[in-house]
């Protein structure tokens, strides 16, 4: 009888591609719990809105493009969840939905679906809603409210809002936040981006699960810290400036979740280092000279444009001798 054919190697690791996405979704759960402690059930519903609208738009796009629905690999849900986790808890439900739909329909599917997108869809979705609806996006509720936010959209008026650290930095001058409060997360900000200590713990968890790369996060944070120390926007010394910059807005969230998107980030370690540095540079430039109080998403899109080149460039630098030697022989 004939036996089947297979190609070497015949022993493979059991890890699947969707495991990384499942890890990211698990990592988002503590952040949602933290936010719901302050603001009630609304933040969780916003994240779920993002996920559901991303899944629905991807299914419709796949049907339209007549390809197999690829929702099961988890990348769609992650995109929707990230967009949902980056909006303010006070935003209407159509805001994360609009961001997620833009991310899938305009950035992910036209480029070829999962695994082939050039730009991070979640960052692009955030860029779209930052441009169009910055009013809705950047009004944050006061964390000292004590009562949960109303779940319906039309009951939102009358909630006391507070300016986030990012807005205060953008205006300049003395800042009202003390580093301890920043680490504990007791300040207004996007749903997933305020719990700084939890974010750091999540970063360690994802690093152990091999879903993020230290070669991206550490150079990124280091570049942001150096730029924040050398060109402080907050008055009160460079340490305070570093703490404020790194904990305000969604810089840290982007460093853990958005920058480490495996499809758009480089794969070689030196390329990843360059990518982190470049992304940090762009983020701080966007903060200093940009129009919005938080321009991280634009910086990530800019860095994504360079990621393939940086990847090959990093490898090329390390293997210059081998390549030149080969050229001489050939």
């Amino acid at each position: 009888m004939t036996y089947k054919t297979a190609r070497a190697p015949h022993l493979r690791r059991a890890e699947r591609a969707s495991m990384m996405c499942v890890d990211v979704l698990i990592a988002l759960v503590p952040l949602c719990i933290f936010s719901s402690v302050y603001y009630g059930l609304r933040p969780v519903l916003l994240v779920l809105t993002g996920i559901i609208s991303a899944i629905i738009s991807e299914t419709l796009c796949c049907l339209f493009m007549r390809r197999k629905p690829s929702v099961s690999d988890g990348t769609t849900a992650v995109t929707g969840a990230l967009v949902g986790a980056l909006v303010s808890p006070l935003s209407p439900y159509w805001l994360p939905a609009a961001g997620a739909i833009f991310a899938i329909v305009a950035v992910k599917m036209p480029m070829g679906g999962s695994g082939r997108n050039l730009f991070n869809p979640a960052a692009a979705g955030m860029a779209a809603i930052t441009l169009c609806f910055q009013g809705f996006l950047f009004t944050y509720p006061d964390p000292g409210l004590g009562i949960p936010l109303p779940l319906a959209d039309n009951a939102l008026s009358g909630i006391i809002t507070q300016s986030s650290p990012a807005a205060q930095l953008a205006e300049g001058g003395r800042t009202l936040y003390d580093p301890a409060i920043l680490l504990l997360g007791d300040f207004p900000g996007p749903i997933g981006a305020t719990a700084i200590s939890i974010l750091l713990a999540i970063a360690v968890y994802l690093y152990i699960r091999r879903a993020v790369s230290a070669m991206i996060i550490l150079p990124y944070l280091a570049t942001c810290a150096v730029l924040a120390a050398v060109f402080p926007r907050a008055s009160g010394g460079s340490w305070l400036s570093i703490m404020m910059e790194l904990c305000s807005g969604y810089l840290l969230f982007a460093g853990v979740f958005l920058l480490n998107d495996p499809v758009t980030a480089p794969r070689h370690w030196l390329g990843r280092v360059f990518y982190g540095i470049l992304a940090g540079l762009f983020v701080m430039l966007m903060r200093y000279f940009g129009r919005f109080e938080e321009g991280v998403c634009f910086a990530i899109l800019l860095a994504n444009a360079f990621s393939t080149t940086l990847d090959r460039f990093g490898w090329y630098l390390l293997n210059l001798k081998r390549i030149r030697g080969r050229r001489r022989v050939a």
């Binding site: 036996y3 190609r7 015949h10 690791r13 699947r16 758009t264 990847d311 090959r312």
Partner: protein, 419 residues
């Protein structure tokens, strides 16, 4: 090299229960199929006519063109017919079918090998047609190449870093002294100052083996697959040969007998009795599997070990010297196939510091002129990149395909862009 920085993968080792069992001799097969292709690639013709008997170890085939290696009969048997077989490793080759009468030869007395010179050993290994089981290359050509190098480190590679194979360990277990003497002979031929047997064993086995050979004769291989089998200190070029080849060299020198059998690990979840078997060269896969017994109908039969083996479709393939492992697998679990998500695990796994995913991408997009810069020729096909890929892509075979594309004149291989 620390565990974090050296590249490669940790492979699960599935050598039990075959490794702890002694070598079993296969029941004599009814027929053996001897390829008429000698170790150096020369075509041979049988020297006897049909239905004549040939004794174990006698010259069976002479090379068509002068200067080639002869072929020896692995069994005592009757020459039946000639058949053409498509062998996965040799290609289409004409093979002589022998009806086997007695599969073992008589034991001859071993004589001293101290007085043999390097040239005599080289000529002996060529005349006996000894083939290295690691890669199927003639041992004599490897030794001749080693003679031309300076500062050679000669390694008998028994490290067996792939999951299933334990043939070299069983050979060492049974006859370590003879292997060591064979290695000394080979070292005399290449004028090597440093030579050792590379092993990857647990402490107990290692100690046991050290007691039988000199202390410096063993080198414990450390690190991820595929690890280095020699120490980088002191420099030198490495020349790797197999332990069965060393044993065959010693026996050829001491008893004037050509290698007639080889030791193969038979393993896999479809095999009822996994063990190391000594089979005469030319035994078909079918006979071996029947000897070891199949507990369930296998879906895949693999010639070679799990990381670098090739699947075969039919079982009437004869065993030649380059094969050390035979797997019969029912389940081959793999993650579901997906487009490359760019996780970068293949880059971390590659011990040759290549970018496997980029080679695969450029090959798929038919950008052949940009393949040269990525150095696909440095790949040795270890399979680590495909092993770790969570999208279950055929990365290794794509890189090897890119290697083949290098010689293909129909693909414009040139100096594309620099990056």
């Amino acid at each position: 090299m620390s565990k974090f920085t050296n590249r490669g993968v940790f492979l699960p080792l599935i050598k039990e229960p075959a490794a702890s069992r002694p070598i079993e001799d296969i029941t004599p097969p009814a027929q053996v199929v001897v390829p008429m292709l000698a170790g150096d690639g020369s075509n041979n013709q049988p020297v006897i006519k049909a239905y004549e008997t040939v004794l174990h170890g006698d010259v069976f085939g002479q090379p068509v063109q002068a200067g080639g290696c002869p072929i020896y009969s692995p069994v005592t048997g009757v020459f039946n017919s000639v058949r053409n077989i498509l062998h996965p490793l040799l290609g289409t080759v004409s093979c002589a079918v022998l009806d086997c009468l007695v599969s073992k030869g008589e034991n001859r007395k071993e004589k001293s090998v101290e007085k043999l010179t390097a040239e005599e050993i080289l000529e002996l290994s060529f005349r006996m047609g000894i083939v290295d089981e690691l890669d199927g290359i003639l041992l004599a050509s490897k030794l001749a190449a080693g003679r031309k190098l300076r500062n050679v480190i000669l390694v008998a590679d028994a490290s067996e870093q792939e999951p299933y194979c334990s043939a070299a360990w069983s050979v060492l277990n049974e006859s370590a002294e003879k292997v060591w003497r064979g290695l000394e002979l080979a070292a005399r031929t290449v004028r090597a100052k440093k030579y050792h047997i590379a092993v990857k064993l647990e402490k107990g086995n290692l100690k046991n083996l050290k007691g039988r050979i000199s202390d410096n004769g063993l080198y414990q291989v450390k690190g991820k697959y595929p690890a280095r089998v020699y120490s980088k200190k002191g420099g030198g070029t490495v020349c790797r040969i197999g332990v069965q080849a060393c044993l065959a060299l010693y026996l050829a020198a001491a008893t004037d007998q050509p290698p007639c059998d080889c030791i193969i690990t038979v393993a896999g979840d479809a095999v009822a009795n996994p063990c190391n078997v000594r089979v005469p060269l030319g035994t078909t896969v079918e006979d071996i599997l029947r000897f070891c017994g199949l507990s369930q109908e296998p879906a895949y039969i693999i010639l070679g070990d799990a990381m670098t083996g090739i699947t075969i479709q039919s079982t009437d393939i004869p065993i030649i010297s380059g094969i050390t492992c035979l797997l019969a697998l029912k389940n081959l679990p793999r993650p579901p196939v997906h487009t490359c998500i760019g996780c970068g695990r293949c880059v971390r796994a590659c011990h040759a510091n290549l970018l496997p995913y980029e080679i695969m991408r450029r090959l798929d997009n038919m950008q052949y002129e940009r393949l040269a810069t990525l150095l696909p020729d440095e790949c040795d096909g270890c399979g680590a990149c495909s092993h770790v890929c969570p999208c279950s892509l055929e990365v290794t075979s794509k890189v090897l395909e890119a290697q083949d594309a290098h010689g293909n004149i129909f693909m414009k291989w040139g100096d594309g862009d620099d990056l």
